[in-house]
Amino acid sequence: MNFYSILWVAFLVFSIGLFGVLSRRHLVGVIMGIELMFNAANLVLVAIGWAYGVLTGQIIALFAIAITVAEVAVGLALFLLIERVRKTVQADEVSLMKG
């Protein structure tokens, strides 16, 4: 297990997350994709910290996880509100920004 294989894994996870974000219509699916992308980023941080033998990477990853949790809480609250107002949580049906 070396540094570059971990980066490759992170890249894969990131890509899967991105695919989820782009392809899912359900907002909860979208946020799950975003979570995957976050995890990939955290993985890279931890891997770099490990590779250089410093703790900075792990510390930043911990902060990032905490922030992600808060963000997911806000996101889910938003989805609940959207569901209540628009009666839907499908991303393409909430198109307020249509020109």
């Binding site: 540094f3 991105l18 782009l22 392809s23 979208v30 250089y52 920004m97 249509k98 020109g99």
Partner: protein, 639 residues
């Protein structure tokens, strides 16, 4: 001290205008508005009399538009004896007219009455300011203010279409001349870099004669419009639609004499251009003749007086053009009083009889004795009969013309003097001695109307006597002249009165038969030399044609260009709108595409990559270490 006096002349009418204009409750109180206005012009009159006694030479300036590259433009006042005399004339006539208006306008509604006095105050202020101005630019400002006020007052009864039309006509015709004035003024400034009269008088001789002539010709064009000189005199008779006291003011002291005063004021420039001066003289002479001949056939008493003003202003212009600027101002001085008197007397008749037509008047000598005496005084003064003021000034002008060797203008003006006496006494015999009974019962006017007339009557009688003092005041040497000439204008005038007496009082000859015999001339006069028709034709054909072309160009070329630009932008936007689907994923595609693009650019495409790496190297070199190692390894692989 003298500048305080000057401000006492100028400021009160302005204060009256401002207060009346800004405080509606004051304006709508009849006594308040009129009282304030009359009091302020009274203060001005007193101060102008004191100025006349002091005879100061004041130049009072402050920088109005400072400039580092050009010479600064000044605002200020410049008094010479001519200006002092003119201030006095303006203030006195304005005062008399305002007092007279108390009676004449008494039937107006309070708000209209207040408006009338507000305009009068502004009128007096603008004319006084014009007289005392120190620079051409300032003269132009006040000149336009005078034009504006006369527009407002001619169209005072704006609900009457003729009055509104006459006001617009007056405004347009004078503005037509003012275009010349503006261009001439700016040309003069372009060559000398100053608007100040005192500096212009010094710098003007250095200009080439042709250039100076062009400037002065254009400036005189403005004076022609304002002073109703041929062929721009057409607005003045129509301006009779205004209230009669306004006509008195416009004709005697403000507005029309402004042009003469401008020529007199700028005479130090005009004297360098003899061609322009003789042009001024010829225009003046022709105007005098045409005005007098048009007055012969009018039936409206105010129009007769209006044409007589045109004719008398012609005298003044001719005198100024022949080099006798003091004579021109002297005639202006005497004319102001007797023409104001004549108009006020005519107003008194119109006020009593409610008609302007002289053929509907008659036998007024018994009903209105005071007005009769005063009108007779004015008529005698205008005709130039001996003890009255007109005699002195007109005589001086005619003799000056003769002595300067301008024979043809001399005879034109002499003949005009005959015509003047004739048409004035035609009016007098028909209106006051005629045997036709007026429909309305004539009565004498109230004292507020007769008192100013008596004062003006005394001035018309006496203004000519201090001739020597007047010329000494203006530092002008009056010449002695041949004795037989001195009686010639007087004889001609008496002959004119006699002819009128034979025609209209004794009725030895029928005027209509004379008119038939001279039918071509009569026809020309009835048509007013077709000037109005020519102007109308030019307006309809030429100006409307040009306007139509300009309108087409504006509508289809200028607007079309703008519309094309906006249309193309709208179309583009409509196309671009499709990008905005409103779906979050679509935007994310865009963002990710951009990110990938940037990553790709940073990886290999941008040429600055190596430089960026070098810069980053130093502060965080421990992060760079494995990457550098890595790239080295890659290189080794390649090797």
């Amino acid at each position: 001290m003298n500048s305080i006096l000057l401000f006492l002349v100028l400021i009160p009418p302005f204060v009256s205008f401002a207060l009346n204009g800004l405080i509606p409750s004051l304006r709508k109180s009849k006594k308040g508005a009129a009282g304030l206005s009359i009091f302020s012009i009274f203060v001005s009159t007193l101060a102008s009399v004191l100025l006349l006694v002091e005879k100061p030479e004041v130049e009072f300036l402050f920088e109005w538009i400072p400039s580092k590259t050009l010479s600064p433009i000044h605002f200020g006042f410049f008094l010479d004896p001519f200006a002092v005399v003119m201030l006095f004339v303006v203030a006195v006539v304005a005062l008399m007219v305002q007092v007279y208006s108390l009676g004449y306008m008494s039937e107006e509604t309070p708000s209209s009455f207040g408006r009338y006095y507000t305009f009068h105050s502004l009128f007096a202020f603008s004319m006084l300011g014009f007289v005392a101005s120190s620079s051409l630019l300032q003269i132009y400002i006040f000149w336009e203010l005078v034009g504006l006020c006369s527009y407002l007052l001619i169209g005072f009864w704006y609900h009457r279409p003729e009055a509104a039309r006459a006001a617009i006509k007056a405004f347009w015709v004078t503005r037509f001349g003012d275009v010349g004035f503006a261009i001439g003024m700016v040309l003069l400034w372009g060559a000398t870099g100053t608007f100040l009269l005192s500096e212009l008088f010094v710098k003007a001789p250095e200009l080439s004669n042709a250039y100076l002539s062009l400037c002065l010709l254009l400036i005189f064009f403005g004076a022609m419009g304002k002073s109703a000189q041929f062929p721009l005199h057409v607005w003045l008779p129509d301006a009779m639609e205004g209230p009669t006291p306004v006509s008195a003011l416009i004709h005697a002291a403000t507005m029309v004499v402004a042009g003469v005063y401008l020529v007199v004021r700028l005479f130090p420039l005009f004297q360098f251009t003899p061609e322009i001066l003789s042009f001024v003289m010829w225009i003046g002479s022709i105007t005098a003749l045409i005005g007098a001949s048009l007055a012969l056939i009018q039936e409206d008493i105010k129009r007769i007086l209006a044409y007589s003003t045109v004719s008398q202003i012609g005298y003044m212009m001719a005198a100024a053009g022949a080099g006798g600027k003091a004579l021109g101002l002297f005639h202006l001085f005497t004319h102001a009083f007797f023409k104001a008197l004549l108009f006020l007397a005519a107003g008194s008749i119109i006020h009593a009889l409610r008609t302007n037509n002289i053929w509907e008047m008659g036998k007024l000598a018994k009903k209105m004795p005071q007005t009769t005496i005063l009108f007779l005084t004015g008529a005698l003064a205008l005709s130039g009969i001996f003890p009255f003021s007109g005699y002195f000034s007109k005589d001086e002008i005619l003799i000056w013309m003769h002595n300067q060797g301008f024979t043809v203008p001399f005879f034109i003006l002499l003949f005009t003097a005959f015509l003047t006496a004739f048409y004035m006494f035609r009016v007098f015999f028909v209106v006051f001695m005629g045997d036709k009974e007026a429909k309305e019962h004539g009565h004498e006017s109230p004292w507020v109307m007769t008192l100013p007339m008596w004062i003006l009557g005394l001035l018309s009688l006496g203004a000519g006597f201090p001739k020597e003092t007047f010329f000494k005041f203006l530092e002008y040497d009056s010449e002695s002249y041949h004795s037989y000439l001195a009686y010639l204008p007087l004889t001609v005038s008496i002959f004119g009165i006699g002819t009128a007496w034979l025609f209209y009082h004794k009725k030895y000859f029928k005027p209509s038969r004379i008119a038939e015999t001279l039918s071509p001339i009569t026809h020309v006069l009835v048509k007013k030399l077709w000037l109005d028709d020519i102007y109308l034709w030019v307006y309809r054909r030429v100006l409307n044609g040009i306007s139509f072309l300009c309108g087409w160009f504006d509508r289809y070329i200028v607007d079309g260009l703008v519309n094309a630009i906006s249309w193309s932008i709208r179309q583009t936007s409509r196309g671009l709108r499709e990008i905005q689907t409103g779906r979050i994923q679509d935007y994310l595609y865009g963002i990710i595409a951009a990110i990938i693009l940037f990553i790709w650019l940073t990886l290999g495409v941008l040429p600055t990559r190596d430089r960026i790496n070098e810069k980053i190297e130093n502060p965080v070199d421990y992060i760079q270490a494995p990457l550098i190692k890595d790239s080295k390894r890659d290189k080794n692989k390649h090797d």
